[in-house]
């Protein structure tokens, strides 16, 4: 049985622990799963191309543009920053159909009252459209780096095709706003891959039955 996405379903959002960039273990996020994209091999100070990971079926974009910066507060050194002029953000992370997608978010923006700003997270379906619950989150402020969080969308029934991150309010300054790091994707095997796996299993079974005969 292959998993399919149904608009209106409700992937579950859980929070994890972000990695840190101070050379103190644990370096990466928790939980750890699937394939990790931490942007650390990219060149700091450059514009991020949305199709950088197209070969892996991942596309990361923002209408504001994204920049690679070396100031990650999660696993160091780099992260991607939404370059919105007013500190807001609207990032789409599109993946192949997956069972789990995790993302680290850094943001120290605060409201006029000094409270953390609200960030909205929603899973994407196969059409790149948000589906299920829109989660409103504020990033914890008590740690060594305020505004650091790690979030995982998981769905055991339907595929997830990415995450949409929206921050409508921000504090404008050069790099304030929202940054992402340590994208993790646990891919659901593609149909063709599963077919090959099945053929392989049958082949192995045939071999074993011949040897035992």
């Amino acid at each position: 049985m292959f998993l399919t996405t149904i608009a209106g379903a409700a992937p579950v959002l859980t929070t994890g622990t972000p990695g840190n960039s101070y050379n103190v273990p644990p370096y990466g996020p928790s939980p750890s799963f699937g394939t990790l994209y931490n942007f650390d091999s990219l060149t700091p100070g450059t514009t991020f191309a949305p199709g950088t990971y197209a070969a892996q079926g991942v596309n990361i974009s923002s209408p504001d543009g994204l920049e690679v910066e070396p100031y990650s507060t999660q696993s160091g050194p780099n992260y991607l920053v939404d370059t919105s002029a007013n500190g807001s953000a609207n990032i789409s992370i599109k993946t192949f159909g997956s069972e789990e997608v995790g993302i680290g978010i850094a943001d120290s923006d605060i409201t006029a009252n000094g409270a953390p700003v609200t960030i909205y997270l929603q899973a994407l379906n196969a059409g790149g459209v948000g589906f299920g619950t829109v989660y409103a989150e504020t990033l914890p402020t008590g740690g060594n780096n305020p505004g650091n969080g790690y979030f995982v969308f998981a769905d055991s029934v339907y595929d997830i095709y990415g995450i949409k991150i929206t921050q409508p309010v921000g504090n404008a300054s050069l790099y304030s706003g929202l940054a992402i790091d340590d994208l993790q994707v646990a891919h659901t095997p593609e149909p063709a891959s599963l077919a090959l796996l099945g053929v392989g299993a049958i082949f192995i079974g045939v071999l074993r039955s011949r040897r035992s005969a």
């Binding site: 101070y22 305020p146 050069l174």
Partner: protein, 559 residues
């Protein structure tokens, strides 16, 4: 007579001067002084008052950090980059400018000078995930050489050292150009927040060039000349021209059980502020991390080898106790060479206490909690929190400083306390501002104004040593590199930047003046040091800056 004097109406012959719990009013209760009762038995917290202070300040606490130049922490104050996820800093309206890194210095810095080779660089921002860096060269001669006779353009070549950094960005951090790095309010967040609410000097300097020990000695005596004994050579000294030696390097104190046996060691002659405080009957103490040799650290280390793993960078790169940072151990009259423990918590700081005024940093907190805050306290953090590059960092330093100040602000002493944050040297980090040469020196280690010269012989003043018969001595070229100086007190001017020319012995002068102790004399810099009284507002009878500022020790943000 200024109006505040009306609240300290008589000379108090005791160490038990108590502060009225309504300290915010600034009123001092002089009626409860009771020499016979230890602090733990007193209904009100003890202070220390053999003589009437000339200002409302009854307690001076000097946090003496390590190895920071002014531009390294405050060069771009009050503008922080504010990357996502880091503690945000936005300056209050009306924040005054500092003499910092101008656009021209940031983009066309003289240290782009090709003589600096691969290290030629403009100043650049170090990020909060780069707290641990390589240690720069901060010896007496290279620091002068980096000034290039006033051109201020040879820091990478003369004092720079690269590497040892968690995030190798920008690439210049792996070259001597690392010396041009600076932090902003996203890393030194607490320091910037204190500056927003209290007083910051942008014109304060090392009394003379050189590393930790001369800085520590100048802090308490203003005099690095007059070495009375030395062991294991004289590598950290220079001939003073009058048959004696001047300390210019990091010799260990003779007799300290933790001094390295084969390292150059010295004893200083002359007086220090401890002698003056003793003569006046005032309580005082030097509180140093790792001093208590009876403690076993969580990692199992003991004695002189106690050490601590930094929670920021996850390594243990130094013992907690560093003998050549301990100023009073160099003077026979004020040393505690065997690290004898205090008689009890209530006697900490008092004459006759077994610790002879030298204690562990935990003794400071223990005494404070017991209602015993000496008149003068010098605090030296355990090494991993002292800010020294190579084994400490600004975030560990921040945790120490904030914990001290939070504890004081929550104590009943706060209404009459002044905290001063000062540094022993610059580490060699870039700073663009040179002070006028106020004290000359003419040795082969001097180059500030030309070969073998700091100043003009016969023209530039040159102070004597304690035993030179009034004749000028060499090895005290200064002022040296500019370092931060902050005053945090209910009596400090709020969000104020002071431009008065001061040096390390200015805090010494403040203590002397505050209790009418007289001067060290014998060529001490205290005679010529600029005043830091301009960082206070003593014009009213009540403190005008009484609202405490409690910060987070991890983020430096207000709590």
């Amino acid at each position: 007579m200024r109006s505040f004097l009306s609240i300290t109406t008589s000379t108090v012959l005791c160490f038990g001067l108590a502060v009225d719990p309504s300290f915010a009013s600034g009123r001092v209760n002089t009626a409860t002084c009771d020499l016979s009762r230890p602090a733990s038995e007193s209904a009100k917290p003890n202070s220390a008052c053999a003589v009437t202070p000339t200002t409302p300040i009854e307690h001076v606490v000097i946090i003496f950090g390590e190895n920071i130049s002014f531009d390294h922490y405050f060069g771009v104050y009050p503008k922080a980059l504010n990357p996502p996820g880091e503690p945000r800093f936005t300056a209050l309206p009306g924040t005054p400018a500092v003499n910092g890194l101008t656009p021209a210095l940031l983009t066309s810095n003289p240290n782009l000078n090709s003589a600096n080779g691969a290290g030629a660089a403009n100043p650049f921002r170090l990020n909060r995930n780069q707290p641990l860096t390589a240690d720069q060269n901060h010896a007496y001669a290279p620091e002068q050489a980096s000034f290039d006779e006033g051109a201020m353009d040879l820091f990478p070549l003369k004092t720079g050292a690269g590497g040892n950094i968690s995030v190798p960005y920008p690439p210049v951090v792996n070259t001597n150009g690392l010396v041009m790095g600076y932090y902003d309010g996203n890393t030194v967040t607490a320091m910037w927040n204190y500056a927003q609410h209290y007083a910051l000097s942008d014109n304060s300097y090392n009394s003379n060039f050189g590393p930790s020990t001369p800085g520590a000695i100048n802090l308490i005596s203003g005099q690095t000349n007059g070495i009375s004994a030395h062991l294991n050579g004289t590598g950290d000294e220079v001939a003073d021209g009058q048959g004696n030696l001047t300390l210019v390097g990091d010799a260990d104190p003779i007799g300290d059980v933790c001094s390295a046996p084969t390292r150059n060691q010295v004893t200083m002659s002359g007086k220090n502020v401890g002698d003056l405080l003793n003569a006046a009957g005032l309580s005082w103490g030097w509180f140093a991390g790792g001093f208590d040799l009876t403690v076993t650290n969580p990692n199992g280390t003991t004695g002189c080898n106690r050490s601590t793993v930094s929670p920021v960078f996850g390594e243990n790169l130094s013992g907690d106790y560093i003998p050549h940072h301990q100023a009073f151990q160099y003077y026979t009259s004020t040393a505690n060479p065997k690290h004898t423990r205090p008689t009890n918590v209530a006697s900490i700081g008092l004459a006759g206490d077994a610790g002879n005024h030298n204690y562990d940093i935990h003794d400071f907190f223990d005494a404070l909690a017991a209602g015993n805050l000496p008149a003068v306290s010098y605090l030296k953090a355990q090494a991993y929190q002292d800010a020294h590059p190579g084994y400490s960092d600004p975030l560990d330093e921040q945790a120490f400083v904030v914990n001290v100040i939070n504890a004081l602000q929550k104590s009943p002493f706060w209404g009459t306390t002044a905290v001063m944050i000062a540094y022993d040297d610059s580490d060699g980090w870039y700073d663009h501002q040179q002070a006028p040469i106020l004290n000359g020196s003419f040795t082969n280690q001097d180059s500030l104004s030309g070969p073998n010269a700091c100043g003009t012989q016969g023209t530039t003043p040159q102070l004597p040593g304690p035993n030179s018969g009034g004749l000028p001595v060499n090895g005290r070229c200064g002022p040296g590199v500019r370092t931060p100086l902050q005053v945090i007190s209910p009596w400090a001017k709020p969000n104020y930047v002071d431009h008065t020319l001061t040096d390390q012995s200015s805090t010494l002068r403040f203590i002397e003046d505050n209790w009418n102790l007289g001067r060290i004399g014998g060529g001490s810099f205290d005679a010529t040091a600029g005043t830091i009284n301009t960082m206070f507002d003593f014009s009213k009878s009540t403190p005008q800056n009484a609202t405490p500022l409690i910060l987070s020790p991890t983020t430096g943000l207000p709590q």
